[in-house]
């Protein structure tokens, strides 16, 4: 780990010194418990703020679509394999220009959540050693994804009757306070004006009552279907602990099954809702 930290600092320092990039987005040590925190480094001498360890959970790609990074001519970003999946999504949707980003990939054995547990995305990780980058640091880490991990949590939903599922979600979604932390944390929620903030007409009611919460969470999951790369940032950010990844993974499973598509794999492939096949499933339509 410290080895990777050193190398990240070295590369960042070099990029900043020779003008390759204007700034580097990375992680620095946080102040609460063991948390790390995103940081923007603009000067070579500040490169030593950067580090990498198993608490570098934040997906830094979310900063590529925000000020001030968005306006930069060229920016470096430190990224784990899972974070790069988001970048691929942003490239597919033309939100980021490839030549404006220098990806400093870092190999990763998996991170830990604040409570010390291993996130599902790490259990199912197939990109411990990233393959899409400009520069990579760290020894190669073999991926050994647990094939069950990704959709394991869905089994409990699958086992419920529709009515049980409905009351499960009613209870969960009633907690929603419409802070939109899920949206803000998501690197692929790219709209400058979210549908939930449009009021002519008001498709999604903004009040945190059951009907507004239901349609908001439904729309969020729908708009991320086929796009979500399962980085888990939304669920981590949610202050009221709604299990958002259950919805996201249910969508991912659907998209995989119906269109044989997985988000975040290939920037050249069309996302599933931007194309169609003549022989797509027609069985459910009368």
């Amino acid at each position: 780990m410290s080895d990777r930290t050193d190398k990240i600092r070295e590369v960042a320092r070099k990029w900043l010194a020779d003008g390759t990039v204007e700034a580097v987005v990375g992680w620095e040590q946080g102040t609460y418990r063991e948390k790390c925190s995103p940081v923007l480094v603009r000067k070579p001498e500040d490169a030593d703020r950067l580090l990498f360890n198993d608490r570098c959970t934040n997906n830094l790609m979310t900063y590529l679509k925000r000020d001030p990074v968005r306006g930069m001519e060229k920016v470096g970003v430190v990224a784990k394999g899972c974070d790069i999946k988001s970048l691929i999504g942003l490239l597919q949707e033309s939100q980021v220009e490839r030549e404006k980003v220098m990806v400093l990939a870092v190999t990763c054995e998996g991170v830990k959540k604040d409570d010390g547990t291993v996130p599902i995305k790490c259990q199912a990780c197939d990109v411990n050693t990233p393959t899409f980058y400009d520069e990579i640091v760290g020894e190669k880490v073999a991926s050994n994804p647990d094939p069950e991990a990704r959709f394991k949590d869905l089994e409990k939903l699958d086992a419920m009757t529709p009515a049980e599922r409905n009351s499960f979600w009613r209870e969960e979604l009633d907690k929603c306070i419409r802070c939109y932390a899920c949206r803000q944390a998501c690197p692929l929620c790219i709209c400058s004006r979210c549908i939930a903030e449009k009021n002519q007409p008001q498709w999604v009611e903004t009040s945190p009552h059951p009907r507004g919460n239901f349609s908001w969470n439904l729309v969020r999951a729908y708009h991320l279907a086929g796009r979500c790369v399962e980085c888990e940032a939304c669920e981590t950010a949610c202050p009221v602990n709604i299990p958002l990844m259950l919805l996201n993974r249910a969508m991912a499973r659907t998209v995989k099954g119906a269109f044989d598509y997985e988000a975040g794999k290939d920037p050249e492939v069309q996302p599933p809702l931007r194309t169609f096949n003549l022989d797509d499933d027609n069985s459910f339509i009368l």
């Binding site: 949707e93 033309s94 939100q95 790219i190 709209c191 400058s192 004006r193 979210c194 549908i195 449009k198 002519q200 007409p201 008001q202 498709w203 708009h223 069309q270 996302p271 809702l273 931007r274 194309t275």
Partner: protein, 689 residues
């Protein structure tokens, strides 16, 4: 506050028999924003329309709902009426209480209630309707015709005769296409060249036609009425203005062993050549692949002998730009090859039949050349291997066509007819010979077609065997054709001197590249797709592009010509006005919220959405957004539904309108948790009573 007028039609008794029209009018009058509501016996009649017009003036209405029949029936009528009263036509909508209500329900309370709700739904929509103006698009009144076969020739001549300039682009050195290769044509047996050649000459000399032979379409930009086309004129190595077409060069050319494309390899040509005597333009071209000068650097025999110094070895490909308003695609067909070396590598060939290995196994077009008076044998039927007159010829139909395991499921449509013709041509020249035909079904549905096939069988004695052939192999001087006659149930073996394969009609190899440039769709076989198989068979989904001939699917000459004239008339309709008017039901982009994800660009089937740069006064790029070209947009709304930032809306079916329609369905004060009513009586009439 809106001032909407609601006009409820009784349609005689068609509506009022089951719907209480007066109540519908009264209830409509109580909807907020409705200034006047009336019912009347026949709203579409003159007095009915007058009622609407007067109400518009009297109440200064800003919207009209006619509650009557289906809008497919009378929307145009009422929109015209409100226009006459000074209201924008798009502020008039119809609530369909006849087809969707009075005709399909019993006379009972819920039926009238439904009618009221349908009116209310439309009132809420009309409140949010906008005055729209038809979209006007300038039209360049010139046409591009791609392909110089009979379809392209016909389309070009029709448009040119209509008084508009035509750019005709042909990839080969001469126009004429496959029809020029044919001997006689079914079902009349008139000489193909005799009827085609005059048209070729016309095309060459028509003042309105600009002919680019040996040329290809390189690039197409723009949209209906305003296409910009880049044409690549391939280096011909002959200055056709200087050349007189005397043919001296052909005589002197030392490279004489090149299989002639026109004669399907049954005859050779030289490296500098005029493809056939009647070619238009009758000017040679140098085949640089085979020319000794171009391959070895020495020769120039043609240049030396040319009396007008027309041969120009330095010529290079030239690119010209033309602006046109409409495009006719007439790229025609080619034949499926029966060996694996052909241009369709995706398809399995017929190696088992030995085409390409045995010279006496030929395809239909080769037979045409053999039978043609201008062909390699001067019209005598001689087998290619030794020039002997074949005493028996076996014709096989459906080679490739209707054969899913070879990758093609469609019927090539023309083979039944031309095979019958071949047997006749053969029998007329070889009186004692026998013609055998292996067929799957005989498909001859055309004027005089079935009679023609009957004649081949009954008068000319062609032996028709229903079945397929398993194998053809040489046995000494003969070809043994082994097959099945499924009518008699017997296996048959025929000793033949020659075998003719009626191979499938396929699109020109690689033609999808052109279709992609044009932005038109094509099917799995790469045949161009029409906009609607029944109602718009000659138009592409992309506005301003029309189809003619076999590029769309197998066709015979009459069909190709008919479709070419139809395509020409579509182009002429386009050219009949200085500006086109289009329904203003088009998408529009909210540039403030567009995030340039390009979902809409990718998903639009009409390539109507493009990427636009927004720049400041210094020219710096501020942001990029999607832009809808209203000339191309057809108003399907797929982009609007796909845009997840909700930055696209569709005029005529805006989000606001649809939202209001949905809202109108929630009745005020409605009990949300009523108990389902238990059915008490069987007759629904009881409730109404």
């Amino acid at each position: 506050m809106s001032k909407i007028g609601v006009f409820v039609c009784h349609c005689g008794e068609n509506i009022s028999r089951t719907v209480d029209c007066a109540r519908v009018a009264k209830a409509s009058g109580q909807i907020r924003g409705v200034a006047v509501a009336k019912d009347y016996k026949y709203m579409c009649s003159d007095p009915g329309q007058a009622l609407i017009k007067n109400a518009i003036k009297e109440h200064k209405l800003d919207g009209v709902v006619v509650s009557a029949c289906s809008p497919h029936m009378h929307e145009k009528t009422f929109r015209k009426a409100v226009t006459e009263a000074g209201l924008n036509q798009f502020l008039c909508e119809m609530a369909n209480i006849r087809e969707h209500c009075s005709w399909v329900h019993e006379k009972e309370e819920p039926t009238t209630r439904k009618a009221i709700e349908l009116v209310r739904l439309m009132v809420e929509k009309v409140k949010r309707n906008m005055a729209l103006e038809p979209i006007r698009v300038d039209v360049t009144k010139r046409a591009l015709v791609i392909g110089g076969g009979v379809a392209g020739i016909q389309a070009a001549l029709d448009i040119a005769d209509g008084g508009h300039e035509v750019i005709l682009v042909e990839k080969d050195p001469s126009v004429g296409g496959h029809m020029a290769q044919l001997s006689e044509t079914f079902p009349t047996l008139d000489c193909s060249q005799c009827i085609l050649t005059p048209k070729m000459v016309d095309v060459g000399s028509h003042p309105n036609i600009k002919l680019y032979t040996y040329s290809e379409v390189e690039k197409i930009e723009g949209f209906v009425g305003n296409f910009k086309v880049t044409i690549k004129k391939k280096a011909r190595s002959v200055d056709i203005d200087k050349c007189t077409g005397c043919g001296e060069c052909q005589l002197k050319c030392p490279s004489k062993k090149i299989p002639s494309e026109f004669d399907r390899g049954l005859k050779n040509r030289t490296a500098i050549y005029i493809p056939f005597p009647q070619a238009v333009p009758a000017r040679p071209v140098i085949d640089r692949e085979h020319c000794i000068y171009f391959t070895k650097g020495k020769c120039k025999a043609c240049q030396k002998v040319c009396p007008t110094e027309a041969v120009d070895f330095e010529q290079t490909d030239e690119y010209v730009e033309e602006e046109v308003g409409g495009i006719v695609v007439a790229t025609g067909f080619d034949l499926y090859t029966t060996d694996k070396q052909g241009p369709y590598p995706d398809y399995k060939g017929y190696g088992e039949y030995g085409y390409g290995e045995d010279p006496d196994i030929i395809d239909g077009l080769q037979f045409e050349r053999l039978a043609s008076a201008s062909g390699p044998t001067g019209g005598a039927i001689q087998r290619p291997s030794d020039g002997k007159e074949p005493k028996s010829v076996v014709f096989l139909q459906c080679i490739g066509s209707r054969h899913p395991s070879k990758g093609i499921e469609f019927c090539s449509k023309i083979c039944c007819m031309y095979t019958a013709k071949h047997t006749m041509l053969y029998k007329h020249k070889v009186h004692h010979g026998t013609a055998y035909v292996f067929y799957m079904d005989i498909r001859a549905p055309g004027k005089g077609y079935d009679e023609f096939v009957r004649r081949a069988i009954e008068e000319d004695g062609a032996v028709y065997l229903r079945g397929r052939v398993s194998r053809i192999y040489r046995s000494g001087d003969h070809l043994i054709v082994k097959g099945a006659d499924t009518l008699s149930g017997a296996a048959v073996e025929i000793e033949a001197d020659m075998v003719v394969l009626a191979t499938a009609v396929m699109p020109q190899p690689g033609i999808e590249g052109l279709f992609q440039k044009l932005g038109i769709s094509y099917d799995q076989y790469k045949f161009a797709s029409e906009a609607h198989p029944k109602l718009r068979p000659v138009e592409c989904a992309t506005a301003g592009i029309f189809l003619a001939g076999a590029c769309q699917g197998p066709k015979d000459i009459p069909e190709s010509v008919a479709q070419a004239s139809a395509a020409a008339s579509k182009a002429l309709i386009l050219f009949s006005r200085d500006q086109m008017l289009r329904e203003p039901v088009v998408a529009k982009v909210n540039e403030n919220t567009c995030i340039a994800c390009w979902y809409c660009v990718e998903i639009c089937p009409f390539t109507a959405i493009s990427k636009k740069d927004i720049r400041d006064r210094q020219g710096n790029l501020i942001k990029r957004v999607a832009e809808v070209n209203p000339s191309l947009c057809t108003g399907c709304g797929t982009c609007a539904a796909t845009c997840f930032s909700n930055s696209i809306d569709l005029d005529g079916f805006t989000d606001e309108q649809i939202y209001s329609e949905i809202n109108s369905l929630m009745a005020v004060g409605q009990d949300l948790f009523p108990e389902p009513e238990k059915a008490e009586g069987d007759s629904p009439d009881e409730k109404a009573a």
